[in-house]
């Protein structure tokens, strides 16, 4: 019993010892402006590329994301083009992704969301859940 406890505590201490070693490694491995996690909850300090002059705030734009439709000059967002629309829909839940994550500009986001809703009505995209 005593031996067991000793061994467990020994393991625990090594485990505990390992853990703090790992976390600084992990955070240093992570590149500073990595996108993809929800919300800007890592306060990296004021960043020069962020929206002008906002310091100390927690929500940042990740990078200067450009609107895909403006860049490629896609005028008509067709509801039949489910592959294009599927890029702006959450894979897990089928929800429309907000434009602060995708970088789409406002008029295109409006047209995109109405196209997605049309596609959902005609069973090209699901209302909820994974697209099979």
């Amino acid at each position: 019993m005593a031996d067991e406890t000793r061994t467990t505590t020994a393991e625990g201490s090594t485990g505990g010892g390992e853990r703090p070693e790992r976390s600084p490694e992990r955070s240093s491995e992570r590149p500073p402006d990595r996108g993809g996690d929800r919300g800007g909850d890592r306060n990296r300090g004021p960043r020069p590329g962020g929206p002008g002059g906002r310091e100390g705030g927690r929500k940042y734009f990740r990078r200067k994301k450009v609107c895909k439709f403006c860049v490629e000059k896609i005028d008509a967002i067709d509801y039949k083009d489910y592959r294009l629309l599927g890029q702006f829909v959450s894979i897990e839940s089928g929800k429309i992704v907000p434009r602060r994550l995708t970088g789409v500009c406002t008029p295109h986001q409006r047209r995109l969301s109405s196209a997605i809703k049309l596609a959902r009505n005609i069973a090209l995209l699901p209302f909820s859940g994974r697209a099979s």
């Binding site: 005028d75 008509a76 509801y79 039949k80 049309l118 959902r120 009505n121 005609i122 069973a123 090209l124 995209l125 699901p126 209302f127 859940g129 697209a131 099979s132």
Partner: protein, 132 residues
């Protein structure tokens, strides 16, 4: 009589092709008899639906682009609703969107044909005016 509509409907997957053709030709005759015109008929083939519609997981998509009045569309939809083989349909009006696209294309063509040579001339003119 100048409204362009896009009518997309889904047919049961177990419908034989001759019946499909019969249905499409019936719709076409309805369109032409009320004074409209069919621009395009496109059988897009069997596709897996994003969700179950009337206990079907697949469906044959048919697209019909036509020109006509609102009353014509009302009549077509009524027929589709009555037809048992059609499990879903949607009508989209596309003439306004088409007008907008044509306008944008014309602007782009005009920009391309008039190369940006007036720009430096204008700048020179402006600076001259400022100095004078």
């Amino acid at each position: 009589m100048n409204r362009t509509y896009e009518l997309m409907f889904i047919v049961r997957p177990d419908m034989p092709e001759e019946e499909q053709q019969k249905l499409i030709s019936t719709l076409e005759t309805v369109v032409t008899s009320s004074g409209g015109s069919v621009h395009k008929v496109d059988v897009m083939g069997k596709r897996r639906l994003a969700y179950t519609v009337r206990k079907f997981h697949d469906g044959i998509y048919v697209l019909l682009v036509l020109e006509g009045s609102g009353g014509l569309v009302h009549e077509l939809e009524r027929r589709l609703r009555v037809t048992e083989q059609v499990i879903k349909f949607i009508t989209v009006r596309i003439d306004e969107a088409q007008k907008r696209l044509d306008k944008i294309k014309k602007l782009r063509e005009a920009k391309r044909k008039a190369p940006p040579s007036p720009a430096p001339a204008e700048a020179g003119g402006e600076t001259a005016a400022v100095t004078a």
